[in-house]
Symmetry: C2
Subunit: 555 residues, 2 copies
């Protein structure tokens, strides 16, 4: 008898992917994607009405369910696997994507009387309209010296549950009052599938300020923030918090039918998509830094103890693997910066880029290729350029969105490819600095495992390895989140006792290991030394020119 | 009886221009240009031979004479003026452009036996191969505490006479020995025309370290530098030094015939081209800063006393107007930086620049226009960008070629036109800093008069006026150097007693006066404050990141 299969449901920003994983070999048996019919709702509600304000981003929870059904049926058909072979279901979801519901889980935007109110709809992770609320939360927490605040680098984000809930209370108190539950989308999907509501430790910890020993922020704090918010955790966000892979419940009959799976199939406690990728990418213990490298980068590190590390996005016990502390750091701009450069910084001279490249997507790809090829021919330090990678502010270590980028060392001979390389190097220095803050806090970083779109860029991973002096292991799968979700399903289904066992047994070895070129070490050490000086001069100094420029810009 | 006319001969890098000036009205009666047949000789000598080393730039002195003849005859014909009406001839020339000659002025490259030796040829101002010699000169002078060194910002240039002469001694001692004279090209042309050799105070002061009271650097210094150089000033560079407009001699018969002018016409002591432009542009007294704005910028200020001003290119009594001290400052990169940006920094997206612009010269012009138009719509400070204008190093105040440029404040929304504007603003801040060092030394700067290609750029002059808080007066003529040379001819010819009288009588009023927009003052004061901080952090600090980057680049 074989171990059978597990189903992973990977909910992204635009679509959901179903992954059928073979629990014997770890092979990805089949996968299928279904886009969300309404995608990201950021102009007006689907049934019309006034335009949504700037920075709003909603979704339709019906999309999640119907697309999940399509993707699952298509993946199962492609896999040619019997329903009974699926031992468990795992879920990962973007976060913090939250929705207000009634006590039985009916979304408020599904109620006719509330449907025209935007606050009744699910707010997607990248809904950024609650910055004023986040600022208030941070100010009150700092004034009161809330002990949870340093775990989040001293600042909570407008993307997180509390800011979004406070925004609802501020702007639509009747919706806030009607919301018997406010729930993460991943937990809500599990609730639909099983009839049981639980809170996953990953989203609860990283996005709702939960701590395994201390619980949520106190009612005192909530009252100080806004008396109307006092009952947030006690009622609307209440419920048991489960570690990844723990069983939320079992697949209900209606959903077994819709998905073509067996009634009673166990459903595991969900995870955030980036964090699930660490498991799918093969990381389930200390010593390996896992990075999802894309438009921005997310850095995850596991450790056996909780210490204070500068500028974390969060540290959560049970957040990734039960029994371990999961540390999350971040770089606010990575691929975004390269895309900006290709869009706004590459010359149109014939000799650099042929003019007849056609559509802009194809053009961008060709320019990336050309710039990469030419930048690869440059030696470290040769161009005399050094950049600060703060085009989108700094997450770790400074947690300061008001910072901006810089390039030093321009001469009349500076070429576009030299700038391109300097931008890649700058993001590598940013990653080295994150490794340094981990090490300074006493946490081991012996190697790096990378996933995400940029992990396929050989110039970039080579530079990162050289700059950090660490081997960079490139994930074999490009579906790390979905595979990680399926691993959670495997544990929920009893195929493995623990998540780290599932990862150890199922994860594929890296496709490639990029060793550091030690001949580049001394030059990159010197450049990094200058980068670190600039971080002090421009980032830590309260009178930083970058902050003055930002203040002038706002006038 | 009218005052008649004067002839100005304006020798540039690629051509000579003859200017016939009406001494009654100051009107430019006619002008004609003749290119130098061999242009700049920087690949190999005209008759072949091995390639010239990197950084070499020679000219053929025969070109100067034949082209001068053509341009003069054409201008005189176009003016319809009788030879007798030309009261005097003035000359301006690039500097330091020097040539070795025999005692009677025969250029060494005109002697068959020496013709194949590159050091026998005239070295153009932009011959930059004597940097090692300039470094030695600066080191020995600094060690000995030579009192002339601070007048030149603590550093002499590889472009100047002493470095070029030492290069000749180092690399071709037989040519150095054969050179009975080493002479500035302007003085050599006057010598040809008149049979008399004199040294013009302008080139002698700014390029050969001459001082009206202290003379040239001492033989002791020269001996310390190289015993072979001891006799440089005593023999090879000897001769009377004449203030601008003083009579060198009178037109010899042969040359009267070749030029179609009257024998005996007085020829005035020459000037450097940029310095002659100050006279042609109407500046002959204290209080007005004159700027020639082009690929680089040259700043000239007259004053009644000699004080030490930081980072001067030179201060010379009689250098521009007899009896006054002429201060020269500079910005090493201005138009060069904008050209770099248009060449290397503007995106090729269709929406920014149409692809079918054709040849690169036309394309560059269209991009400049488009960028200017869009940059004009931005308010000061709006983009959040700030740049340091050191793409080609810093001349005044830091005199440091190892510095490089920087741009701070990039975000994902940064546009090409915002960068373009920031680069213009950076050069304006550089000019404001030059004004500040003059003011700190107690010299008045009440207004600015500008000439050169960039003086026609309305966006640029507007930003400069706003940043400095001073009115910018735009020269009416675009032949300021040639007009200035003709004014020297007018004084030599006796039409005026003094240069300032000629300027006062003949110079045209500015074409336009650009007043500062005081509503921009506070923002630009704040931005300039940040610029000044960056000058300290990156320019004055010996451990500046820019210097570290330069050191890494050189490895």
């Amino acid at each position: 008898m074989t171990r059978g299969h597990a189903l992973g449901l990977d909910f992204g920003t635009e679509s959901v992917r179903a992954v059928v994983l073979d629990l014997e070999s770890g092979a990805l048996t089949a996968t299928a994607v279904a886009p969300f019919p309404h995608g990201v709702i950021d102009r007006s509600l689907p049934e019309g009405g006034p335009p949504l304000p700037h920075d709003w981003a909603l979704q339709d929870s019906d999309d999640w369910l119907t697309s999940m059904e399509h993707a699952t049926r298509e993946a199962m058909a492609a896999a040619g696997v019997q329903a009974a072979s699926v031992k468990g279901i795992g879920i990962d979801f973007t976060a913090s994507t939250i929705l207000p519901t009634t006590g039985n889980g009916t979304p408020l935007h599904g109620i006719d009387a509330l449907r025209a109110q935007p606050h009744a709809w699910p707010k997607l992770w990248k809904h950024h309209a609650a910055q004023a609320q986040a600022d208030r939360i941070n100010a009150v927490a700092a004034r009161r010296g809330e002990k949870w605040l340093p775990r989040y680098g001293g600042k909570t984000s407008s993307e997180w549950l509390m800011a979004k809930a406070l925004e609802m209370l501020d702007e639509a108190p009747e919706i806030y009052a009607a919301a018997e539950c406010i729930v993460e989308a991943g937990d809500w999907v599990a609730w639909r599938l099983t009839g049981s509501l639980a809170r996953n430790a990953c989203a609860a910890g990283y996005k709702a300020l939960w701590h395994k020993r201390d619980g949520y922020p106190s009612s005192d704090f909530l009252r100080a923030l806004d008396p109307g918010l006092e009952n947030l955790y006690a009622s609307k966000v209440s419920g048991q918090v489960l570690a990844p892979g723990q069983v939320v419940g079992h697949l209900a009959g209606e959903w077994a039918q819709r998905l073509g799976l067996a009634e009673g199939t166990p459903v595991g406690s969900p995870m955030i998509d980036a964090h699930a990728a660490a498991l799918g990418g093969g990381v389930s213990g200390p010593g390996t830094l896992f990075i999802v490298m894309g438009t921005s980068s997310c850095h995850l590190l596991l450790a056996e103890r909780e210490v204070l590390v500068e500028g974390m996005s969060g540290v959560v016990e049970d957040g990734i693997v039960a029994g371990l502390f999961g540390y999350e750091a971040g770089q606010a701009g990575v691929g975004d910066i390269f895309a900006w450069f290709v869009r706004s910084g590459v010359p149109s001279a014939d000799e650099v880029v042929p003019f007849e490249l056609g559509d802009s997507g194809k053009r961008a790809g060709l320019i990336h290729d050309l710039m990469s090829q030419r930048a690869a021919a440059l030696a470290p330090g040769e161009s005399g350029l050094l950049a600060l990678d703060w085009w989108n502010g700094s997450r770790t270590p400074l947690v300061d969105a008001d910072l901006s980028g810089a390039i030093l060392g321009y001469t009349l001979e500076t070429t576009p490819e030299a700038i391109y390389r300097a931008l890649i190097e700058a993001t590598a220095f940013g990653t080295r600095m994150i490794i340094d803050v981990f090490k300074e806090a006493g946490l081991a970083v012996d190697r790096v495992r990378v996933s995400g779109g940029l992990s396929r860029n050989e110039l970039l991973t080579g530079i990162y390895a050289d700059v950090t002096g660490l081997p960079f292991e490139i994930c074999a799968t490009d579906q790390a989140s979905g595979v990680g979700a399926a691993m959670l399903g495997a544990v929920a289904g009893g195929a493995f006792d623990r998540v780290d066992e599932a990862v150890g047994s199922l994860a594929q070895p890296p496709a490639r290991i990029v060793p550091p070129d030690t001949s580049h070490g001394a030059t990159y050490d010197a450049l990094y030394g200058q980068y670190a000086r600039l971080v002090d001069l421009f980032g830590r100094d309260p009178s930083s020119p970058l902050k003055q420029l930002r203040a002038l810009r706002a006038q």
